[in-house]
């Protein structure tokens, strides 16, 4: 009797475009590789989340590099992309996919399809790059070959061809978390029509991409040029010149007329609305000096707090803080945990694996909604756990203290547990959640400089 092939799934949100991957035949080690690369852009794969791309992939073992005939196979099957109005097909020696549009709205895509792929992260990465580069422009966005950096509360992209210095710039950025990507960044308009830059999991040699789905207002496009001397110069360029340069860094695999016209129009719009400069520098110039020279071209109020574009972005950013610091603080809103929680309370959340959770713990979890603004951070008490049975995944049971209804969810799928409450702060006093006194000293030690994320402030 043949064993049923393993089926895994991932839900990714990159540049606001949500892709559901159903992966048949995926081995655990391969899923680990994918999560190491795309984890910051993964969200709970709840079936009710609106998906822009739904792709069923059948995975096959990757061919070892030295296998006879491999070279010939690679040479015979280079990347081919065919983008029509409703279908996108892409194939290469190691993958073949086809997706078809189910509905066409100007700001939202809905593609469904299937394909096959070798169990090789590079094959999956190439396939995703093709899909995102082709679909993002159809919803008003684009993938730009460039280094994206967050600076204070704004984003800057430094487009450049290979060897222009994108990875060098990323490497010397003092805080690596400010790097949105050293290779490809997603740029898209927000609901108000302003351009925002999103990090991406598409890396270059810097070997890591953005840390969350959070996007930043795009203030400046700084085209990288190598300077002859270690001096930084920022020279404003007119929009036509900027458009010309941007088109050279606009990732596009399809060359049909409609695609090219669409991409051209987007590049023209972006360069007409966002400041552009030529950033002439060398690898020896420190980042601080680059931003000192760039400051006059960034516009006003670069430090003014800008809220995340959606609840989804906010929660993804919160998760990144928690992953980095292992503990974080936030102010909840709502009344489902009264009287245990009162208005104005601050909660100190600690990362926790499933095995560390027990009934009575107050969990903080990501409850995804259909749309990005429907997502919520839920803080409810764990009342139990249903172990895995008859092929079903284990489920968590939770309840708001002020509510009678018990919720059940599959962790990582319907919701994602981010951590548990370790301490609560009220009226200037802080005390541990019962049973957690031992952790408190360690927790506060790491919380001294951590700001509180204000849920209500979004």
């Amino acid at each position: 009797m043949r064993r049923k092939a393993r089926r895994e799934e991932m839900l990714l949100s990159i540049g606001g475009v949500v892709t559901h991957l159903e992966l048949t035949g995926a081995q655990p080690v391969f899923m680990e590789q994918l999560r190491a690369r795309y984890g910051a852009f993964e969200m709970p794969a709840a079936p009710w989340v609106q998906r822009d791309i739904s792709l069923r992939l059948t995975l096959a073992s990757a061919a070892p590099p030295g296998v006879p005939g491999r070279r010939a196979d690679i040479d015979a099957h280079p990347l081919k992309v065919n983008a029509a109005a409703r279908t996108i097909a892409a194939e290469r020696w190691d993958f073949s996919v086809k997706v078809t549009a189910e509905s066409g709205q100007p700001t939202r895509a809905s593609y469904r399809g299937s394909g096959r792929c070798e169990m090789n992260p590079f094959a999956v990465d190439c396939m995703l790059r093709v899909l995102y580069a082709t679909i993002l422009p159809r919803v008003g966005g684009m993938l730009i070959h460039g280094c994206g950096l967050r600076h204070a509360e704004v984003g800057v992209i430094f487009p450049g061809r290979s060897g222009a210095g994108k990875t060098t710039l990323a490497r010397k950025t003092p805080d690596a978390d400010d790097v949105l990507s050293d290779e490809l960044v997603a740029v898209r308009r927000d609901d108000d029509g302003a351009w925002r830059v999103h990090g991406s999991p598409f890396w270059g040699d810097f070997a890591r991409g953005g840390i969350s789905m959070r996007s930043w207002p795009l203030r400046t496009v700084a085209f990288l040029e190598q300077a002859a001397r270690d001096v930084v110069t920022m020279t404003p360029i007119v929009s036509s010149d900027a458009t010309l340069r941007l088109l050279g860094c606009f990732l596009s695999f399809a060359v049909d007329r409609v695609t090219v016209e669409r991409n051209l129009a987007l590049a023209v719009q972006l360069c007409a609305e966002v400041r552009s400069v030529e950033a002439s520098l060398t690898k020896n110039v420190p980042t601080a000096e680059i931003f000192r020279k760039l400051a006059p071209h960034l516009g006003p109020e670069v430090t003014r707090k800008v809220p995340p574009q959606s609840a989804r972005e906010m929660i993804s950013e919160f998760r990144s803080f928690l992953r980095k610091h292992q503990s974080y603080a936030f102010k909840p809103k709502g009344s489902s945990m009264r009287p245990w929680l009162k208005s104005g309370d601050s909660l100190f959340i600690q990362s926790a694996g499933e095995a560390e959770l027990a009934a009575g713990d107050i969990l903080l979890y990501w409850s995804p909604g259909a749309k990005p603004d429907d997502d919520a951070l839920t803080c409810h008490r764990m009342v139990g756990r249903v172990p895995a049975m008859r092929g079903n995944a284990p489920k968590f049971l939770t309840k708001g203290d002020a509510m009678s209804r018990i919720e059940t969810f599959e962790n990582q799928r319907e919701c994602e547990i981010l951590g548990k409450v370790a301490a609560i702060s009220r009226d200037g006093k802080t005390w541990p959640v019962p049973g957690r006194i031992g952790n408190l000293a360690r927790l506060f030690g790491s919380l001294v400089a951590i700001p509180i994320l204000r849920m209500a402030g979004r």
């Binding site: 036509s240 458009t243 010309l244 088109l247 007329r257 090219v260 016209e261 051209l264 023209v268």
Partner: protein, 96 residues
């Protein structure tokens, strides 16, 4: 190679382009090239939406540019040559 002066030319209708304030950007996906046409080249590109000879182009531009007839014609020939050599124009017919 210079453009045949009695031949007619039109812009390659397969090439996507976008008109900016004064300039025009033309993309050639087959060659993966992007061209930024300056104001005068952009005007010629605009005029070549329909087939025109160099003489017809020079006549059309004569009213718009304050320059001598010979100099204008020479500039038009040079621009048509340039656009043609980049594969942006299609010869419609005629002889030199």
């Amino acid at each position: 190679m210079s453009a045949p002066t009695t031949a007619s030319w039109r812009r390659d209708t397969e090439l996507p382009f976008q008109k900016l304030a004064e300039e025009t950007i033309v993309v050639d996906p087959r060659r993966r090239e992007v061209h930024l046409l300056n104001e005068t080249a952009a005007r010629i590109w605009e005029l070549l939406s329909a087939p025109r000879s160099v003489d017809e182009l020079a006549a059309a531009l004569g009213d718009e540019y304050d320059v001598g007839e010979a100099e204008l014609r020479e500039a038009v020939v040079e621009l048509v040559d340039g656009l043609s050599s980049k594969g942006l124009l299609v010869a419609v017919g005629g002889t030199r």
